[in-house]
C-alpha cells in the first residue's frame, strides 16, 4: 500500500507548500473569516451534541435478576465471629475471570457480602456460581456496546428482600441514569440492610452526587438498625469525599473504610472513589487489595465484629 498516494485530512500540508500558499490563505481567510468559522462552529456543536442518549431502565422495579448458588452447609450453623464486606467496581464487567481470582484469595476470600458495580447479568451470575453465593442484580442502563450496566449484591447468607433505588440527576451529556440496589441480608436471623451504590461521575456536580447519596440514606430510613451502604461514590474531585463523609456522619453513619486510601489508579494519580458506610456495626479491620483484579478499581474490604 502506498502511503504517499493517500490524502490524510488530519495531516498538515508539506512545509514548502504551506509557505508558498500561506499569504494567499491568509488573504482568503481574512475575507472569508465568518464563512470559515461558521462551519467549524457547526462541526464543533455537532461533535458536542452527537453523544447518543443513554437507554435507561426506568421501571421502578426492574429488570431484576437473581439466583442462589449457595451449596448446603457452605455456612456454619454457628454464629460467625466476623462479617466481611467487599465493594468492587468491575469496570464494565469485562474481566470476570480476574475478578473471580481476586475474590477467591485472601483477604477477599470467603467474604460474606460483596457489592459490585458496572455489572451485567451474565457476569454476576458467573461470579455467584463460581463463588457459591446468592445474588440480586438490577441494571440501570444499557452501555454503548449494548451490555447492561448496573449494581449487584452477592451474599453467602440469604437475601430475604431487595429493591431498586432510582437516583436523581442524570448525567448532562447522555442522560445516563444511576441507581442503587438494596438488599436485606439475613445472618442467622439478624437482618442487615445492604446497598450497592454507584453514584454519577464528577461531570454531575458534587451537589447532585450528594443528593444521590442522601436519596439512598433516606430510602433506608427506619429500615433497621444494621445498615451498610457501600460502593463507588465517584468522589474524585476536590472536597467531594470530605463532604460525602460529612453527609453520612450527619445521618448517623460511620465511615467504615476510613483510612484505606486510594481505590483507583488513574492517569491523574490515585483516587479515593469507593467507600463503605455503616450503621450499627463495628469495623475491626479494613483495607484495599491493590493486586490486579480485572478493573481500574481495587476491591475495598471491611471486616466487622459479629455479633454486632
Amino acid at each position: 500500500m502506498s502511503q504517499s498516494s493517500q490524502t490524510n485530512p488530519c495531516r498538515s500540508p508539506e512545509p514548502q507548500k504551506a509557505a508558498d500558499s500561506s499569504h494567499a490563505w491568509k488573504r482568503r481567510s481574512r475575507r472569508k473569516g465568518p464563512l470559515v468559522a461558521l462551519p467549524w462552529a457547526a462541526l464543533l456543536l455537532a461533535l458536542l451534541t452527537g453523544c447518543p442518549l443513554a437507554e435507561n431502565y426506568t421501571d421502578a422495579s426492574g429488570p431484576r435478576y437473581s439466583g442462589d448458588h449457595r451449596t448446603p452447609g457452605a455456612v456454619s450453623s454457628e454464629d460467625p465471629s466476623s462479617v466481611t464486606v467487599v465493594t468492587f467496581n468491575l469496570a464494565f464487567a469485562e474481566q470476570v475471570t480476574e475478578a473471580i481470582t481476586a475474590l477467591t484469595r485472601p483477604p477477599l476470600a470467603d467474604a460474606d457480602i460483596i457489592v459490585m458495580q458496572e455489572m451485567d447479568a451474565p457476569a454476576v451470575e458467573r461470579i455467584a456460581t463460581e463463588l457459591g453465593l446468592t445474588y440480586v442484580y438490577y441494571p440501570a442502563s444499557v452501555q454503548v456496546d449494548g451490555g447492561d450496566f448496573g449494581n449487584a449484591v452477592l451474599s453467602r447468607w440469604p437475601i430475604t428482600a431487595d429493591w431498586k433505588i432510582p437516583l436523581p440527576h442524570d448525567d448532562p451529556y447522555r442522560k445516563q441514569h444511576r441507581i442503587a440496589v438494596a438488599a436485606t441480608v439475613d445472618i442467622r436471623g439478624t437482618p442487615i440492610q445492604v446497598v450497592s451504590v454507584h453514584n454519577a461521575t464528577p461531570i454531575v456536580g458534587l451537589g447532585g452526587r450528594l443528593d444521590q447519596a442522601e436519596t439512598i440514606i433516606n430510602a433506608l430510613d427506619g429500615a433497621g438498625p444494621l445498615q451498610i451502604i457501600a460502593g463507588d461514590f465517584n468522589t474524585s474531585d476536590p472536597g467531594s469525599l470530605n463532604q460525602t463523609v460529612k453527609l453520612f456522619s450527619g445521618r448517623g453513619f460511620q465511615w467504615a473504610s476510613e483510612g484505606v486510601g486510594d481505590t483507583v489508579d488513574s492517569v491523574i494519580g490515585g483516587l479515593p472513589l469507593d467507600s463503605v458506610f455503616t450503621q450499627g456495626l463495628s469495623a475491626v479491620e479494613r483495607g484495599v487489595d491493590r493486586r490486579p483484579a480485572g478493573s481500574d478499581h481495587h476491591p475495598v474490604w471491611v471486616r466487622f465484629a459479629w455479633p454486632p
Binding site: 442518549l53 448532562p172 442522560k175 451537589g207
Partner: protein, 223 residues
C-alpha cells in the same frame, strides 16, 4: 516531579482554567466609556467564591477583556475565558463631574465540561449592570455597580430538545471597585462583588462572590 504528579497538576490546572468562567460575575468595568477611536485590552485575575456541593469553595479565574469605543457615549466589548465569552455594550447616560453613570447590558455563553450545583455544560447569561463612577482625583476613581442577570444552565442534551436538569436563575448583585491610572494609557482596577443567585425552581442558593485585579491598556486604533 513524577509523571503522576505532573498529570495531577495538569488536571487541576486545566480545571482551574476551564471550570469557573460561568460562575464569574466580575466585569471589572468603570462607568466611563472608551473614547471613539481607541481600544482597551486587559487581563483580569479574580478569586471566585461559589457553592460547591453543600459548602463554599474558591477558585482563581483568569480572563481577558477588551473594549472598543463606538460612539460619543457608548462602547462595546467583552471578556473571554478559555471556554466562554461575554459581549456587551456600555452606554453613558449621565456625565456630571465628578460623577458618571452608565448602563452596560451584556450576554454571555460558556461551555463547562463539568456541572456544579446550578451550572451545567451549557451556560447562558443575559442582563445588565448599572455603573457609577466618582472621580476622587485625576488618577483615582471609585466605581459602584448594581447588576441583574438572568442565567440558564442546561445539559448538553438541550440541543436535542431535552431540557430536564436545566436551571433558570435570577442573579441580582453588586460590586465596588477602585481604579488607579498608572499612566496615560494604563489603568489598574481592584474590584469585589457579590451575587445572590435565586434558582427559579429550587429557591435561593448560596451567595457567590468575586474579588480581583484587572490591568487595562488603552491604545488608539490603527488607521
Amino acid at each position: 516531579m513524577t509523571l503522576r504528579k505532573a498529570m495531577r497538576s495538569l488536571w487541576l490546572g486545566g480545571l482551574l482554567l476551564l471550570a469557573p468562567g460561568c460562575l464569574s460575575g466580575a466585569r471589572n468595568l468603570g462607568a466611563a466609556t472608551t473614547p471613539v477611536g481607541t481600544t482597551e485590552v486587559g487581563v483580569s485575575l479574580n478569586a471566585l467564591a461559589f457553592e460547591h456541593g453543600r459548602e463554599r469553595a474558591y477558585l482563581p479565574n483568569p480572563e481577558l477583556t477588551f473594549r472598543k469605543g463606538a460612539g460619543e457615549n457608548w462602547d462595546w466589548g467583552g471578556r473571554l475565558t478559555l471556554l466562554g465569552l461575554e459581549l456587551g455594550t456600555r452606554h453613558r447616560l449621565v456625565e456630571r463631574s465628578p460623577w458618571t453613570l452608565s448602563l452596560a447590558p451584556s450576554a454571555g455563553v460558556w461551555y463547562v465540561p463539568v456541572t456544579n450545583n446550578s451550572t451545567e455544560p451549557v451556560n447562558l447569561r443575559l442582563g445588565g449592570q448599572a455603573l457609577v463612577d466618582y472621580r476622587l482625583s485625576p488618577a483615582w476613581t471609585l466605581t459602584g455597580g448594581a447588576s441583574l442577570m438572568g442565567a440558564f444552565a442546561g445539559p448538553l442534551t438541550v440541543f436535542q430538545g431535552r431540557f430536564n436538569g436545566s436551571h433558570l436563575l435570577a442573579l441580582p448583585g453588586g460590586s465596588l471597585g477602585v481604579a488607579y491610572r498608572l499612566g496615560k494609557s494604563l489603568e489598574i482596577r481592584a474590584e469585589a462583588g457579590l451575587e445572590l443567585p435565586l434558582d427559579l425552581r429550587e429557591g435561593r442558593r448560596q451567595v457567590t462572590g468575586h474579588a480581583g485585579l484587572s490591568l487595562r491598556w488603552r491604545r488608539a486604533n490603527a488607521r
